[in-house]
Symmetry: C2
Amino acid sequence: MFAGAQVSLYPMTDGFVSVILSSLKALDPWRDQLRIETDDISTLMVGPPEVLFPALRDLFVQAAGTGEHVVLRCTLSRGCPGEPDDPICQTSSLANPDEPIAARQQKALMAIADPVETGERADAQFSLYLMGAGDHMLEIMGCIDFLKQSGTFDRSKNFCTRLTGDAGPVFATLQQAFCQFGAPNGHVTIDLTVSANSPSLR
Amino acid sequence: MFAGAQVSLYPMTDGFVSVILSSLKALDPWRDQLRIETDDISTLMVGPPEVLFPALRDLFVQAAGTGEHVVLRCTLSRGCPGEPDDPICQTSSLANPDEPIAARQQKALMAIADPVETGERADAQFSLYLMGAGDHMLEIMGCIDFLKQSGTFDRSKNFCTRLTGDAGPVFATLQQAFCQFGAPNGHVTIDLTVSANSPSLR
């Protein structure tokens, strides 16, 4: 299995370079569990979902803590048939394919029952894509049902769903959406935007 | 059919609000062919691909013309089974499902043979997702073959492909990737990032 994310931080300030560089320090505790490569557009993080999502949360929280309007954007993927197996991605966090969707929804809710609180608000918007075998819309609707019970559901928009709340529960909820829906050996991706300190909300 | 995009501009400058507002003027010539709604995270643009992509190109070119480091990010979608049919999305730009992939690649190449030149460089990175029936990896590999012949192909990365060149051919190539691959009545999405004036490239 191969899993990971292409991640970018967009600080809306003249000092964007220093916000990006100082925020990346939040990844240091995770570096031995991730493979990280950076270019001018994004940073690749390769690793299992249970490492990726907390690492993304810490990156976002560090950036949000600067007080600047900053957006974290990423493309998450697991199980892409075009990518090689990678031992660093080994995970036990994916759903059991024999379980019906209702059981997976319950597991997802239990997993987010006691999330880390970070003190930083996250306004997130994301789309979940499930490719290959199976009824992808059934899984997506099952995921949306879970999101509505997650405690961070804000609203549905065209093409995506909004979550709002402390970054802890928001990223925990995103992790469950990524892990509990779609086949464990399927090709699942998320297109994610998380905004902090937007002046539009003041 | 329903088609559209959730679009955001991220100008990396203290004056981000004025860059966003001045750039949005580039959409004025397209407004009668699009339905546009804005919130604090993104702007929804609903309309057919042959309007969406030139409108996105003009928005990007206007923002890039400020000289600031600015990123346009969008989630494009067509044929999502969860969205209602909308007359504004009526299009004749989608591939004929009876045509083999090689014929669609040729059509895509012919469509980008004489693109508009804008004078602004675009560094783009995107993922194409095809859901529902059919062999989605075959279509994706067919699209990547087309991209390699497009004249703006830069390189493949994990989870995505990079295009570089004048914004005219780059957005024309993206439009063909969106229209010629996957079934016309299928559910096709693109996760797109386009960067201008990055200091990392200086």
